[in-house]
Amino acid sequence: MSFVVRQIALKSSGEEIVRSSTYAMREMTVGRDSACAIHLPDLAVNPVHARIAQGADGVLTIIATTDQPFAVDGRSTQQAEIDPAVGGELAFGGHRIAVALDDDGERPVLTVRRVEAVSESAEERDMSAAYSLKGLLPGKRISAWGFALFVLFAFLAFPIYSYATYKPLAMNQDARRPDGIHGDSAWTSGPLSISHKALNNDCQACHTQAFVAVTDNACLTCHTKDAHNHIADKARLVQARGEPAGMAAVQRAVAGAFNRPAGRCVDCHTEHEGAGAMPATQQQFCADCHDGMKGRLPDTKIADAADFGTAHPQFRPTLVRGMDGDKPLFQRVAWGPGLQEDNGLKFTHGQHLSKTNGIAQMVRRMPGQFARSDALACADCHVADSAGARFQPVDMETSCQSCHSLSFDQIGGTFRTLRHGKPEQVVADLRAFYRSTGPVRPANLSGMARRVPGDAARQSTAADYARALRFYPGGAEQAINQVFSKGGMCNDCHVVTRGGTAQTAGFAIAPVAQNDRYFRKGWFDHKAHVQSDCTECHSGAATSNKATDLLVPGIDGKGGCRSCHVGGDGARLASVSVKDPVDSSCAMCHSYHMDAGAPWVPKNDRRKSEGQIAGRQTYRSERDLRQSVAIAERPRFPLKPH
């Protein structure tokens, strides 16, 4: 009974060295201990790992000495039998032991071979790879392809797919894409303004065709009625803008080359500017056309304007220029000092605001009844309207009548007054007064009152009374004449002519027209100027002794707007000195869609613009703020075309 143990070692060249030894014993040990017959210098092997015993039939029985197993033909076990005639392979740690019979077929041969290196570090390895990040990170090439393809798919292919899918919805006012993720929404350059919010998810609503700039037709799909008409002739609009110069011309040319024509709605109404309201019109936006427009559009009636401080035409207030029946005829006249407007009244501001005449004296005698105690003030007659922007017409009953009384009779403690504004009623009332009343009946004509004795006195009194009674109604005409003529209460304020009908006893009152708005192309808000004294702007009021004097200020001169207001960027004429300049761009007074209200201001900017208009004025409450400007909830569209 013996074993042959062949230990195979490898030279560095790869050649094998075989050391063969024969052990004449029935049983031998396998282990790391050098005393073992099969000595395996392997730390994964126990000092005595297993015993190999040869049975009588030549079959080898291998039994592990501890719990640590070994492998037989690749399977881990604690005990195994191997017939050397059949052969088998044992594995202990990094060693393999092949079992076979020797050439004679007599003795079992155990061929021991180390198959694993002593340590991991001893393994062969590619140096350059080992010291790099290879295997630890995905390769640069693969991730470059991966990222690039992902981006191209998600942000190019998918959006184009979305566009192609929903293209048929274009040019349809009510067509909306379903909610959800649409690839082309990743292409948006910013959210749409509030008014177009509903279209945020519907790119094809405006971008109807690929590589074709947004067309006016796309806008008109929805804006069927409210598309404005600043200038009906689009060619004139383009002409007014003039040819772009410099780099803008280059851009225009390039845009043209890239299929982006000029003069479309979206040239001015830009979108994707953020989710706010549409932005306020910028001064440049107006000046693009209106600066030097006369040169480009010689037949225009509009004067050139570029900046309030330096290049703005003189104001042209709308004045009453005569009457057509009861309706005033208005005319825009260039403002100038000494401009006259006849409103039909004889009222003089200087006389009424005087601090020394009888009017002032009367005010002093009636303390507490007027705004001031020493003379009349503006507010005694002029009352702001509900918005505060302008003033209500001066009302005779509330403003004038306390002095210019129309009383003609007193019954008990009650005064009877003539009807203002109705001259035929005045005439009728006076006639009725004289018809229905009589002279006071003398006391000695009636009853048992004491009287002068004798009939003569009584007859005389009766005759007098009868004559008085007979002629009493005739006094009406005299009274009427008095009232309408110089010195009469009508004639104090009104221009009275003799051209009336019989109803008015031949008298006629010249019609009165109070001009409620002088600047109809621009916006002026008195509420924004409440911090200022009235006479700062209406500087002639205290000294005007002519009823027709126009007290509305112009752009320049004393009380003119340029006394405080400078251009949008603070520009002003060299001749003007301004103490507290207020930057005033076009949009402060003008609106593209001008109507009876205040210029439109974006909701976000309202408070700011409010402050801008009011200068340093601070509002006490939100209500005050709201009253100061009639705030439009949306851009207004013109009520009538230019």
Partner: protein
């Protein structure tokens, strides 16, 4: 005679001396920082243009200056990408690779200014801002790369030097192999429990670990370290013998641990030198893809 004292100085100035000084000039300071000055000047000019050129206050990218900046920026990005091809051909002179790299670095920094001005500081969740963000990511990784190239090689050298001189990468592996062999031989008499601990140390790949371990140089699962700790505990619990086998093995493992520490520091520094490129290069291609989508989308929804 009066002139003699000056002569040696003159001689040195003519370069007749055999001493020659060669200073390495890196790509950062190439040509007295020509490209840095050029880029800085251009950035200043562009910012001034952005501030002072009167343009409509709408989308800046859609103005003539915006389109110009966008076109320049896109072409510049493509040119910057070309460094990957250019670097494979090393040439001297004015258009040397060094000059090219210098231009790459400083024009790459300039592209952030161009791209940001082109955006008009108008950002959103869209492909346009995506391209801008990817551009910043690429430039940021590039800046990190420059920082790494400027500082880490010194640390790398310092790590390789010890009192016996420098050690090469190959020598590091050889040293570990040698230590492993010694430990393996010494550990043969050990009992099964101790042998298993030592065996774990030998079987652990010194180059193993994940990217996180590599980049931080922190290996909490180091088998060598745990073998030392456990052997120490084992040794303390056992009766002291004359032949302190465990003590010797522990000492050898400690030497291996020190060597591993140095190797891992080396790997960490090398990974920092390389890792930024794994962001810089792939994101560049993602950027070019996003840029293409950006340009197409602008013209598509014109």
């Amino acid at each position: 005679m009066a002139t003699t004292p000056n002569k040696p100085a003159v001689a040195r100035k003519t370069g007749a001396s055999r001493q020659r000084q060669t200073t390495h000039q890196g790509f950062l300071t190439h040509r007295n920082m020509y490209w840095a000055k050029l880029s800085g000047g251009l950035a200043l000019v562009l910012i001034l243009l952005y501030i002072f050129v009167p343009l409509p206050g709408t989308h800046f990218g859609a103005s003539w200056l915006g389109y110009t900046l966008g076109t320049i920026g896109a072409l510049l990005i493509l040119w910057l990408t070309m460094l990957g091809m250019r670097k494979r051909a090393i040439t001297p002179g004015r258009w040397s690779l060094k000059a090219w790299t210098s231009a790459h670095v400083y024009l790459g920094l300039l592209v952030t200014v161009i791209g940001t001005l082109h955006s008009g500081f108008y950002f959103g969740w869209n492909v346009h801002t995506l391209a801008w963000a990817l551009m910043l990511l690429v430039v940021a990784s590039g800046i990190f790369g420059i920082y790494a190239y400027a500082t880490l090689p010194r640390a790398l050298s310092a790590n390789r030097y010890d009192e016996d001189g420098a050690i090469t990468e190959k020598q590091m592996i050889e040293a570990l192999r040698s230590l492993d062999r010694q430990i393996h031989d010494a550990a043969q008499p050990l009992d099964a429990q101790a042998a298993m601990l030592v065996g774990r140390s030998l079987e652990q790949d010194p180059f193993g670990g994940r990217i996180w371990n590599r980049v931080t140089g922190n290996y909490p699962d180091c088998a060598t370290h745990s073998a030392i700790v456990e052997l120490r505990a084992l040794r303390a619990s056992r009766q002291r013998t004359k032949d302190d086998l465990l003590g010797r093995i522990e000492a050898q493992l400690s030497r291996k641990e020190a060597m591993l520490e140095r190797l891992r520091q080396h790997l960490k520094l090398k990974s920092w030198l390389q890792a930024w490129l794994f962001v810089h290069v792939p994101v560049t291609f993602a950027l070019i893809a996003a840029l293409s989508a950006h340009v197409v989308s602008v013209f598509f929804y014109w």
